[in-house]
Amino acid sequence: MATLLIDKETCTGCEACIPSCPFGALSMKEGIAVVDEKCTFCGACVDVCPVSAITMEKDEKTVTIDAGAYKNVWVFIEHEQGKVSSVSFELLGEGRKLADAIGCKLCGFIFGKEAAGFIKEAIAYGAEKVYVTESPLLEPYRTDPFACAAVNLIRKYKPEIVLFGATIQGRDFAGTVATTLGTGLTADCTGLDIDPETKYLKQTRPAFGGNIMATILDYPNYRPQMSTVRPKVFPMPPRDDSRNGEVIRESLPMTEDQIRTKVLEFIKGAEAVNLADAEIIVSGGRGIGSAENFKVIRELAGVLGAAVGASRAAVDAGWIPYEHQVGQTGRTVRPKIYFACGISGSIQHQAGMKTSDIIVAINKDPEAPIFKIATYGVVGDLFTIIPMIKEEFKKRLGR
């Protein structure tokens, strides 16, 4: 076990360590630094202490598992309504790099009623082996049978690394799988890297609404190393339909009466939201002023084939359903182009869209914080500007 030691004799009470702690675990007590249980032993304070009063003792955990038994990189191939989610392909692309770096195979794993089409696609996008569990109980998606199928495969074939898309499905059952296996799971990663010698997976993810980044490792006593990875972080790999792959089938060791939930129905939304997959998003905020005025946003989105987003202010005012909300208490998106219209750009909104490739801000307030992060800003009345943008696009695109 690790301990953070603060030498009371050496500590001068200079407080240099306090702002260095990303987790707010340090405070001053009677002129001496003290640490509380928010400490994650990241060591940030050790480096800043000018008098070296802070040290960390990290006991090496005794390795009790045979880490050598764990091989290969696995990617969960997620599908919905007959279509593989693009994040699964993106992960096959990234998984290829990881597998090459440590000299192992890249594998996909697929669950469903009938998986034939998905197997082909997984192989075309780079999987050398595909593990498949088919059963009528695996459609539609439910936590219990999916977790059971995954745990069954992982226990039997022992992958080194397992990657899931950080989607509604992936984030629902990956936690169950990791807890059942008693291994680590790093959520919503935006960067992956691997040490070819130790095979440690370096998982980088945002925290505190994207204000800090943390790189996370798994202790060697816990395998596989598992992460959920945010969609649209990695590029799509090239598709090659001439590739061949091995298919390994395992049955589902579960019956319907062991499954504790039933899907009664699916209510399709009045309007497709599709924020997660969108390459272009047009979002409206407080400046839109009413539900009716969202028409200007929808019209521009229509011309561009874009999804419609909204700020919390617009959702809370009841102008547009919550499903459209982008930001800390809504969704995190990463499109190629994000239009922020009448959105001031609070830190919470930024948490949901700051990593978009291009941000276009349209706002009448030149001091709005959105202009500080916008690639391009236009100051002025959005009801004049957006229709002009729409007409100009229509002209150029011949629509």
Partner: protein, 264 residues
């Protein structure tokens, strides 16, 4: 019905600023709040109690000052609250946290229904809820935007889950763990009487030993993952404000966007 709500104290990220010189998070003066999603979990717990009877018990794990979020829970009308606090929990990742929370729920006698926020806004992992459900051996219902019906006799609950393009209606056996999204309700404000009562309340603190936790499964020792590096993301450049007459600015903007060769 016994309802347990799991909540977390988080820094209010509205206040979070980056020190431009050291590139680190400025923590001083940052207020601590109840994780926003957990406010909806508390409200949903209270509504279930009002409709079906029972008690709402709230637990939080954290340093002693996390007691504040429990006082807020008492002020809005929750029946009992527990602080789970022990230096031995330091360094806990989501697996070790879920273990400690599940041991706490067992210690206070279990639950018919557990509510959590879908995720906490500081860590954003969304993993502790499912972890607790798995540890307790009960089903989980995540991203819930509506609780349609609770049937205590048949031990069933029907909820709507918010999906990418619609809502999934799911029936589950009880006990179950539900994680909620923001859209589910409008949290109530505390009453004056509630605030007064909460201020005077003695809040029980449970240690690792109290909840009968295995010391090898809590804190850093029970955590498969550890944070090796923390850094500030590169500041986003930008801030090119296009100036001039709109009749010039708009075509200029479109030129720039079309140059990306992306819009088709």
């Amino acid at each position: 019905m016994k309802i347990v709500v799991c909540i977390k104290q988080v820094p209010d990220t509205t206040d979070v600023k980056i020190n431009p010189e050291t590139n680190t998070l400025v923590r001083e003066g940052v207020a601590s709040i109840t994780n926003p999603f957990d406010e909806f979990a508390i409200e949903e717990g209270l509504r279930a109690r009002e409709k079906y009877g029972g008690e709402v018990h709230v637990i939080t794990m954290g340093p002693p000052q996390a007691i504040e979020v429990l006082k807020n829970a008492l002020a809005v009308g929750c029946d009992k609250v527990y602080l789970v606090s022990d230096p031995a929990f330091a360094g806990a990742d989501t697996l070790a946290t879920a273990y400690a929370v599940s041991k706490t729920i067992e210690h206070i006698g279990g639950a018919d229904l557990i509510f959590c926020g879908k995720q906490a806004i500081d860590g954003d992992t969304a993993q502790v809820g499912p972890g607790v459900a798995t540890r307790l051996g009960i089903p989980q219902l995540t991203y819930v935007c509506k609780v349609r019906e609770i049937n205590l006799e048949q031990k069933k609950v029907v909820v709507e889950r918010m999906m990418e393009n619609g809502r999934e209606v799911v029936e589950s056996s009880l006990p179950a763990l539900i994680t909620v999204v923001k859209d589910i309700n409008e949290p109530r404000l505390p009453s004056l009487l509630g605030i007064k009562k909460a201020a005077k309340a003695q809040i029980p603190t449970l240690s690792a030993k109290d909840i009968n936790a295995d010391e090898n499964r809590i804190g850093l020792k029970g955590s498969p993952t550890w944070v090796t590096k923390v850094f500030t993301p590169e500041a986003r450049g930008g801030g090119e404000v296009l100036k001039g007459e709109l009749t010039d600015v708009v075509p200029l903007l479109i030129n720039k966007l079309m140059d990306l060769k992306f819009i088709k």
